[in-house]
């Protein structure tokens, strides 16, 4: 099954994120000075003593919130509605949240607090993170 959204990323700022997805790793930014996860990548870490480094954020987490989009504001023909999208608090990256699709619900409703596991799915020309219920 294809991804419901097919709008290829533009620009260099998030290239490491997409390169990570392509090889099955979720890379987001963490300060190598104080160890704090900072997402999206800010101008610098407030600790002032480290660099932001693209770091593996693990594969499990909890749904912080979600919606199911029934109407899209993206270019027509690039989106199949409805689709769920979740905001996940990752176990290994406290303090930040990542976006992803949600698959494998088997007819169940998405739910805040649901445990999920990371997977990846091909869109057109790029790979996106999706989450799967982790019971």
């Amino acid at each position: 099954m294809g991804a419901p959204v097919r709008v290829a990323p533009v620009g260099e700022r998030f290239a490491p994120f997409w390169a990570g997805c392509a090889r099955g790793v979720l890379l987001i930014t963490r300060c190598d000075g104080c160890g704090t996860w900072r997402w999206y990548p800010p101008l610098g870490c407030p600790c002032g003593s480290g660099e932001l480094v693209w770091t593996d954020a693990g594969r499990t987490g909890v749904v912080f919130s979600y919606t199911v989009a029934h109407r899209s504001f993206l270019p027509p023909g690039r989106v199949d509605v409805p689709y769920p999208i979740v905001l996940v608090a990752l176990d290994a990256a406290p303090g930040v949240r990542v976006l992803g699709g949600l698959v494998g619900l088997g007819g169940a409703r998405p739910a805040v607090g649901q445990r999920v596991r990371l997977a990846f799915r091909r869109a057109e020309g790029y790979t996106v993170p999706v989450f799967v219920p982790d019971s």
Binding site: V7, W39, T67
Partner: protein
């Protein structure tokens, strides 16, 4: 009251239409002329312009407006916070200018062309790298999705029924029914609300702001000067602005205390500055880009208890005749999407006592709340100084 305290002395609006055929700058010019006429001031009296900072400086620059109006000496020009925080927060900057003597009469405006501009409101805020770089490819695009996720989190934390969201839309529409310039004036039933098409769960179309073209302006001067003008002055009793530790890009996914809004910072600051309490507020004009936005800010401002905003609306408290009428012009949901500028205008009209059948009886204190993440502005305006 002090002589150089800020008073709003004139307000003006254009007609609001779904998609217009006039340039947004022309709409702004018309609104500014209407506001000056309302005040009984001439363009040459104006020596300051304050706008929000995300779209106006590029789309409708102060120098263009000043020139076309016929202003002769623009001594003070400033663009403040973004979006609704900047529009509602404009009097905060104007107040600094008036008190310091940097300006004597300050004009503020907002022109909306979301109805006709490419990308509509979804392109807003413009130029954020995250949109093209990561969020669009993941399907996270359009304000309805951002606020829907806030609503779903709120629902999990506190409980929130579809009917409670619907109550906000219905009460707001009931106010708009008494507002001649509102775009949507036909009263809504709960059945109408529930039949409205789903946009992003839990939102239906009727949970979402209108999309339109149109412009709004208001003019401010010192209370001393205001006493000689046409209209009863509406005074800035106190104001607060504030932000949370997030950026415009990161707010909707990363703000630490989602789904709370930065009104938790600006609200208490405004009440302290004015020496007022939430119980003193006679009506509130709250940035209602979505129904959940009203619920969240009413709670964050202390106008109802935490977790009870939905029930508060469902009780009829915010509708016509309720103990705390909210968005008495119809708000962004039913009047027009003017990014908070019409909220300021409505506060002024209510405090002047000129709202006819929509008049809140004995209105003396109006709160205006403007959201423009990660910032928020809160005004407390009073009539009868």
């Amino acid at each position: 009251m002090t002589a150089r305290q800020l008073a709003v002395v004139g307000v003006g609006e254009t007609k609001f239409v779904r998609r217009g055929d006039r340039r947004v700058g022309e709409l702004v010019l018309a609104a500014c002329r209407a506001a000056l006429a309302d005040a009984g001031l001439e363009p040459a009296d104006v020596d300051g312009i304050v706008t929000e900072s995300s779209t106006m400086p590029a789309r409708v620059p102060a120098d263009e407006v000043a020139y076309a109006l016929g202003m002769t000496d623009r001594r003070f020009t400033a663009a403040g916070l973004v979006g609704g925080a900047g529009v509602v927060g404009a009097p905060v900057l104007a107040d600094l200018a008036l008190r310091s003597g940097a300006a004597n009469v300050v004009l503020s405006y907002y022109g909306a062309d979301f109805g006709s501009a490419p990308g509509g409101p979804y392109a807003f805020p413009v130029g954020l790298e995250v949109k093209e770089g990561i969020e669009k490819p993941l399907g996270w695009y359009g304000q309805p999705l951002y606020f829907a996720a806030m609503a779903q989190r709120y629902r999990a934390d506190h409980g929130l029924s579809d009917e409670e969201l619907g109550a906000v839309a219905i009460a707001t529409r009931a106010h708009a029914a008494h507002t001649p310039g509102a775009m949507r004036r036909t009263p809504l039933s709960m059945a109408d609300y529930l039949a409205s098409p789903v946009i992003a769960e839990p939102f239906r179309a009727l949970d979402c702001s209108l999309v339109n073209d149109g412009a709004v302006a208001f003019v401010m001067t010192t209370l001393e000067r205001a006493r000689d003008l046409r209209r009863p002055p509406v005074v800035l009793a106190g104001a607060g602005t504030g932000s949370v530790a997030a950026t415009q890009e990161s707010y909707f996914t990363q703000a630490p205390d989602l789904p709370r809004t930065p009104a938790v910072v600006s609200g208490p600051r405004a009440f302290a500055a004015a020496g007022l309490e939430p119980s003193d507020v006679d009506l509130a004009l709250v940035y209602d880009c979505f129904t959940i936005s009203t619920i969240l800010q009413l709670e964050d401002l202390g106008l109802c208890r935490r977790g009870e905003g939905g029930g508060f609306a469902a009780s009829g408290a915010t509708g016509p005749g309720g103990p705390l009428p909210v968005n008495t012009h119809g708000g962004l949901l039913s009047h027009a999407y003017t990014v908070g500028a019409s909220h300021v205008v409505e506060a002024v009209r209510q405090l002047r006592g000129e709202r006819g059948e929509a008049q809140v009886p004995d209105a003396e204190v109006a709160l205006v709340a403007g959201l423009g993440v990660p910032d928020h502005a809160c005004l407390l305006l009073t009539g009868r100084p």
